[in-house]
Amino acid sequence: MDLLIRNGRVVDPAQQIDETLDVSCSGAKILRLGKKLPVPSPRTEIIDARGLVVTPGWIDAHCHLREPGREDEESIASGAAAAASGGFTTLMAMPNTTPCIDNAALVAFVLNEGARTPVRVLPIGAITRDRAGKELTEMAEMAERGAVAFSDDGNCLADSRILRRALEYSRLAGRPLIDHPEDPALSRNGAMNEGTLSTRLGLAGIPREAEEIAVSRDIALAGLTGGPLHLAHLTTAGSVELVRQGKKKGLPVTAEVTVHHLTLTEAAVSGYDTNAKVSPPLRTAADIKALRKGLRDGTIDIIVTDHAPHSVEEKETDFQNAACGMIGLQTALPLVNELAGEIPLAVLVAGLTCNPARIFGLKECGSLQPGYRADLTIYDPESSWVLKPELILSRSRNTPFLGRRLKGRAIRTVCGSRTIFKA
């Protein structure tokens, strides 16, 4: 079925477009953008997008789909359903599954399972076997089989020598590495941001320097090896400044921020709300300000969810022992929408479309240029709704936003011209 989306506010940062336009799609591709476009074929669905925002399909470059191994928490299929309803068309799945995605056969498994879902699921492979930080994986073969990037996910590559070798070797694989920057010796046992609040709550803190030391080292190694290195979920003002300086020197580094680090402070954990326990931890209002500024000035390239489903048992326990992470695929769109204004919409959309497409080499993706994949996110920026448990399509419900009123809702998600979600 062909598509003609009429009169939406089309925001396509790759083409510097932000105006009311029509978008026509034929086959699985974008046909053209323009005013008063003709109907492309007799088999065309016409969508009235007046008052709605139309963007390239959103890409989440950092999420956890838990399959294989923890299908009680999420499956590739359930994560994909949550993603589609949250406006995402492409997911990059982190490799911290059981077993971990550290060989080509497992990359193929994730791709095959993903192919049965309505969204595009792209596997991220591990940098080291079993993410143990000791031996490199067969990155070249995994890349050939479809891994879009490599990461040891929650485990920072603490051994600088291994990270150096991995960065060097990744040139053969032709794919970027993603590091979770956190000095494990400084963050060990930490459950939240270190500061006055951690002292009051009697919880072990993680100082911001744990991240900044690792960011600084990672940037240095990107310089030494030629990278490319992508820094996962920055949380501190200091990290933003380090990346800013690194980019100024022309070093091959890119960076991301999660939706929750852009919107929540450490205050969310007071009362020991384990749904607000995340790794790296939520920081302070000053950090949020710096992260937003970093996004505006291009220091931070992309916005991710770090969607991390966890079972009730892993979350309904004492804070120290509770699992880290929150789900985010269905709350990202409204929370990002609520930031529009303070941060230009084009910057936010770029962080979810053309920037991740560029960093991870996703072809014909992240923009609405003719011939590109017909992946679209159409949302109502004014629609207000309350996140109720029964609306959650993920198999887990660990989010501190439950019960919260949110503004902005996906109206239709289109992947390869196919409508994969309709409100």
Partner: protein, 306 residues
């Protein structure tokens, strides 16, 4: 004023008026323990369960005696003999006991926030008997009762608290309690054992024992856990004692009528010398005695006082 709380989870959440109400109630219960028949019927028909996920002798015994002297039925639960070893969750354990119609849980756990978690999940009243590095509110209340008996006031008193401030729930509860009641609190310990932001409570912080002890009215010595040395919070017990021990010599810096307190159990020869522990100014056993009255007051207010 009237008591309105269902739980006692922290001192931080209490107002000065609430703290004073507990102290007044405790003072009136103190006499019960001096009677030939040490019992009043205030909590007859109520069931109190002690839920200690972490070992304790004195706090648990103190709570049990307090409940019994108020005629409550008391049951104890300890993880070694329980189904916790079979993987039962904290909440399951609480819900199972609650199904037996327990009115009040006295909870101790090695992890901060567990009493708050149980308070959210259970219908019964929860008393925090020490959670991780967070708070130990009844310890602070019995300490206040002890200070009040000896000093008759809090406002303007200089209270020095020495030791492992980072890991001490006793310190946190006492800092909140004493600053709320107008005492001047000075905290002292080796720098790695001073957590960030302590001064935001209104207390002062120093690393010098002499500064803390100078003209102090109350000297509160925290237990130093011997394993902290292995974690490199300080190089040796020897050096710790050299710079932080309260002994006869350093005690002389305080006011002549200063009192010496310790929440127990003491490491004699480490944070406190035997001479200081047994000095006429030591009120350590007095604290233990007041534990019963303070806990009777808390149990009474939570279960009847509303």
């Amino acid at each position: 004023m009237a008591w309105t709380r269902k739980h006692l989870l922290s001192i931080e959440e209490l107002s000065a008026a609430e703290i004073n109400l507990v102290l007044e109630t405790a003072a009136s219960f103190k006499e019960v323990s001096t009677r030939e028949i040490k019992k009043v019927p205030a909590l007859r028909g109520k069931t109190v369960a002690t839920l200690f996920f972490e070992p304790s002798t004195r706090t648990r015994t103190s709570f049990e005696l307090a409940a019994k002297r108020l005629s409550a039925d008391v049951v104890g639960f300890s993880p070694s003999t329980s189904s916790l070893v079979k993987g039962e969750t904290i909440i399951d354990t609480g819900e199972n006991l609650e199904a037996m119609k327990v009115d009040c849980f006295v909870v101790r756990h090695a992890s901060s926030g567990v009493p708050a978690l149980l308070a959210r999940k259970l219908k019964a009243s929860i008393i925090n008997a020490g959670d991780g590095n967070h708070e130990h509110p009844t310890q602070a209340l019995l300490d206040l009762l002890t200070i009040q008996e000896h000093k008759k006031r809090f406002r303007g008193l200089k209270v020095a608290i020495l030791g492992d401030l980072r890991h001490s729930r006793v310190a946190r509860s006492n800092i909140w309690a004493l600053t709320k009641l107008g005492a001047e609190v000075i905290l002292c310990g080796p720098p790695p054992l001073i957590p960030p932001g302590l001064e935001t409570t209104g207390a002062r912080v120093t690393v010098r024992r002499e500064t803390a002890l100078k003209d102090a009215d109350v000297i509160y010595i925290l237990r130093i856990q011997l394993e902290r040395q292995q974690e490199n919070y300080f190089p040796s017990l020897r050096e710790y004692s050299r710079y932080y021990q309260v002994n006869r010599e350093t005690l002389s810096l305080a006011r002549p009528d200063a009192i010496v307190m310790h929440p127990g159990p003491m490491n004699r020869g480490v944070e406190i010398s035997t001479e200081a522990a047994e000095d006429r100014r030591s009120v350590i056993l007095n604290q233990v005695e007041n534990g019963i009255a303070a806990r009777m007051a808390v149990l009474y207010l939570l279960l009847v006082g509303k």
